[in-house]
């Protein structure tokens, strides 16, 4: 299996996944910087709306199209922040047969809420953007930071999910032309809609029906694109990198994610463990010190506590080594401050591609 350095040198797409709070955005940006430092034209796509990354890259803000980061390296580093709604709007306009249709969809309340409410829409748009950037000849490598938690699975599943959503049977029945509608609209379907009208109000039901009418005929385009995105993600061009921290909850999520990716026949290529405490290992140099007292006891107590932390982390990580990857885990130590600038990203990049030992 390739090392992270090899992946960054050879692949066209790197997908960073992992649960929230593990520093995924920072790791993604550091990987992109590392690739730029080794001469590749790289674009990093983040979904994290925090301004932190823009600040670290020396940009005023990140937008839905890539901006060039100024720096002294042989390659290029571009960065963008995914705008789910904007990307979806573009997709609708591109797929709509006539312009009136696109406008009707963009104005519909169901559509306006879709990006926030359909689970996986953000992931779907991230994968759509990823596909566009991969096709863009300006970039050799696209690194994408996926939304947190288990939803990262939707990255694979979301394109299909949207198609399934658009194929919803209840609404298919309503949308079929009038005569067929009379035949097909079973009592059950009508009763479902009546019930929903009672619960959520008729306006909401009407909006839903309008939405499906406006979307009619567009599923084909979406389905074709979903298939292309899925194919790219499963191909040898793409590498999935799992980011985690050495805590049991984050490792649990990482294992779950790796299992589910495996079910989609996607292998996790590398596992990055962020913010690992130091171990303070010592060579065996003879008998332990005598019973210590006074000031030394404080030092011993501190060492014992920090070793307990390191041991707990190791115990958590051992499972990852057994179940997810046979390659060594890529460890990034806990650093003395958060990343505030390119230098900070560069420091993390060193740990990513030149693992200790």
């Amino acid at each position: 299996m390739s090392s992270l350095g090899e992946i960054l040198a050879q692949r066209g797409v790197v997908v960073c996944c992992g649960s929230g709070g593990v520093g995924k955005t920072t790791v993604a940006a550091s990987m992109a910087l590392s690739a730029a430092e080794s001469g590749r034209r790289t674009c990093v796509v983040t979904i994290d709306p925090a301004k932190r990354l823009a600040d670290a890259l020396g940009l005023a803000s990140l937008t839905n199209s890539p901006l060039l980061v100024v720096g002294d390296w042989p390659g290029e580093l571009w960065a963008m922040m995914l705008d789910t709604k904007g990307t979806f709007d573009e997709l609708i306009v591109d797929n709509a047969a006539e312009s009136g249709r696109a406008e009707a969809i963009l104005a519909n309340r169901v559509y306006r809420n879709l990006s926030g409410a359909l689970s996986g829409t953000q992931e779907y748009m991230a994968s759509e953007k990823l596909y566009q950037l991969h096709e863009d000849r300006r970039f050799d490598l696209v690194v994408v930071d996926t939304p947190p938690t288990r939803n990262a699975l939707d990255f694979i599943e979301a394109p299909r999910r949207l198609v399934r959503f658009l194929d919803n049977r209840v609404f298919k029945v309503i949308m079929t032309p009038t005569r067929a509608y009379l035949r097909a609209a079973t009592m059950a379907t009508r009763s479902v809609l009546r019930t929903m009208s009672k619960v959520v109000g008729a306006a909401v039901v009407d909006d839903a029906i309008d939405f499906f009418q406006a979307f009619e005929g567009m599923e084909g385009g979406f389905r074709a694109r979903a298939a292309a995105v899925t194919e790219l993600l499963a191909s040898g061009e793409t590498a999935f990198v799992l980011v985690t921290s050495p805590r049991s909850d984050a490792v649990e999520e990482a294992l779950y994610l790796a299992d589910r990716l495996g079910q989609s026949r996607i292998m996790v290529q590398q596992v990055v463990v962020n913010r690992v405490h130091p171990r303070f290992d010592e060579p065996d140099e003879g008998p332990p010190a005598l019973e210590v007292t006074g000031p030394l006891a404080v030092l011993e107590a501190n060492l014992a506590e920090l070793r307990a932390v390191a041991d707990r982390e190791e115990a958590c990580l051992a499972v990852l080594g057994q179940r997810v990857t046979r390659t060594p885990l890529v460890r990034v130590p806990i650093l003395s401050s958060d990343v505030h600038d390119l230098q900070g990203l560069s420091e993390i990049a060193k740990w990513l591609v030149e693992p200790a030992g």
């Binding site: 649960s19 929230g20 709070g21 925090a50 932190r52 309340r109 169901v110 809420n113 879709l114 926030g116 947190p148 938690t149 959503f165 919803n168 049977r169 209840v170 609404f171 059950a188 009763s191 479902v192 019930t195 929903m196 619960v199 959520v200 109000g201 306006a203 909401v204 039901v205 909006d207 839903a208 939405f211 921290s245 049991s248 909850d249 984050a250 649990e252 130091p278 303070f280 010592e282 140099e285 010190a289 210590v292 006074g294 000031p295 030394l296 404080v298 030092l299 011993e300 107590a301 501190n302 060492l303 506590e305 070793r307 307990a308 932390v309 707990r312 115990a315 003395s336 401050s337 958060d338």
Partner: protein
């Protein structure tokens, strides 16, 4: 402040915070602390697996049916107990439809994914169904204290804001009524408060300050003290040279060990400084009392550690 009185300040305590700050551990610790103070506590888990049940050594994941998790056995709180259950939007919807005599169309609805479509037209529906169920439990007096292990920070805002958002969309009907009642629950500090959890590090501190501001200004919820989890206890006297000190005591340290002591001390001093800075930033940014929970130094976090944290939390509450 007396722990039992503190726990009785409101009947629903929503525990919220960014991923990875130990929200579930804190939910479990609050639950155990309240049970030990004699309260009948119900912990509600909204997402994920394992969670509170796993922390307390319960063999199964929580489900929609209540499970007994902990009983206080001695002291003033010997009648206290802790139960747990999970509530998902689907469970809450089934329950809602059944109590409103709409059970017949239920399975059709769920199997066709129609709920997903309507949830799109009115995105807060799922959250309001869950909050509505919690409100129903609160009104029914299901427990002295209901502890809700909320979704991660950004989602917590959406989750708690669902009622307000939905009121704009569903203008009439039972969902509207539900949303209004949920908003009343959230706005009444005697019924519901939000306990934010963070850790003494830069980004989590920034996020908790931001989340707190938005919860207060946009949703009008009352915030309980903020819990700072994973605080390294401050060790004094780390700045001694181990070799010189050993020599002073007439002992000799093997060089490898002396180096480890030195490096570990340097590391700890650095962490303590960073931690102090972040705790000050938190005080400056957020005018709430802080409850500090210590970093746990054991090999794993399970039942005994949660009980230990509950004890530490009780001490912090007494100091308020």
């Amino acid at each position: 402040m007396d722990v039992a009185s503190w726990c009785r300040q409101c009947r629903v305590l929503v525990v919220a915070g960014k991923g990875g700050v130990g929200k579930t551990t804190v939910s479990a610790a609050v639950g155990v602390m309240a049970a030990n103070a004699g309260l009948d506590v119900l912990v509600i888990q909204l997402e994920g697996r394992g969670g509170v049940a796993a922390l307390l050594g319960h063999p199964e994941d929580l489900s929609y049916r209540e499970a007994a998790l902990w009983s206080a056995v001695e002291g003033p709180g010997r009648r206290g107990r802790l139960r747990g259950r999970a509530i998902t939007p689907d469970d809450a919807l089934v329950d809602y439809l059944q109590t409103h005599g709409l059970g017949k169309v239920l399975y059709k609805l769920l199997s066709d994914g129609a709920l997903e479509v309507f949830a799109m037209a009115a995105p807060g529906i799922r959250d309001v169904l869950v909050l509505g169920k919690i409100k129903q439990l609160e009104l029914a007096g299901a427990a002295d204290l209901i502890v809700v292990d909320a979704p991660a920070a950004g989602h917590a805002l959406t989750f708690l804001g669902s009622a307000a958002g939905l009121a704009d969309v569903a203008r009439v009907g039972p969902i509207r009524a539900q949303a209004t009642e949920v908003a009343e629950l959230l706005g009444d500090p005697a019924r519901c408060q939000v306990l934010l959890v963070t850790v003494p590090e830069e980004t989590p501190v920034n996020e908790v300050v931001e989340t707190a501001g938005r919860l207060q200004s946009k949703l009008g919820v009352t915030l309980a003290p903020v819990v700072v989890n994973g605080v390294f206890p401050t060790l004094e006297g780390l700045d001694v040279d181990p070799v010189a000190e050993a020599a002073r005591q007439g002992a000799r340290l093997v060089p490898g060990h002396a180096r480890c002591l030195q490096e570990a001390a340097t590391f700890r001093i650095g962490r303590q400084q960073l931690q102090d800075e972040q705790l000050h930033r938190l005080s400056d940014g957020l005018a709430l009392p802080q409850l500090h929970l210590p970093q746990v130094f054991s090999a794993e976090i399970g039942h005994p550690q949660v009980v230990e944290l509950a004890g530490a939390l009780a001490v912090a509450v007494e100091g308020l």
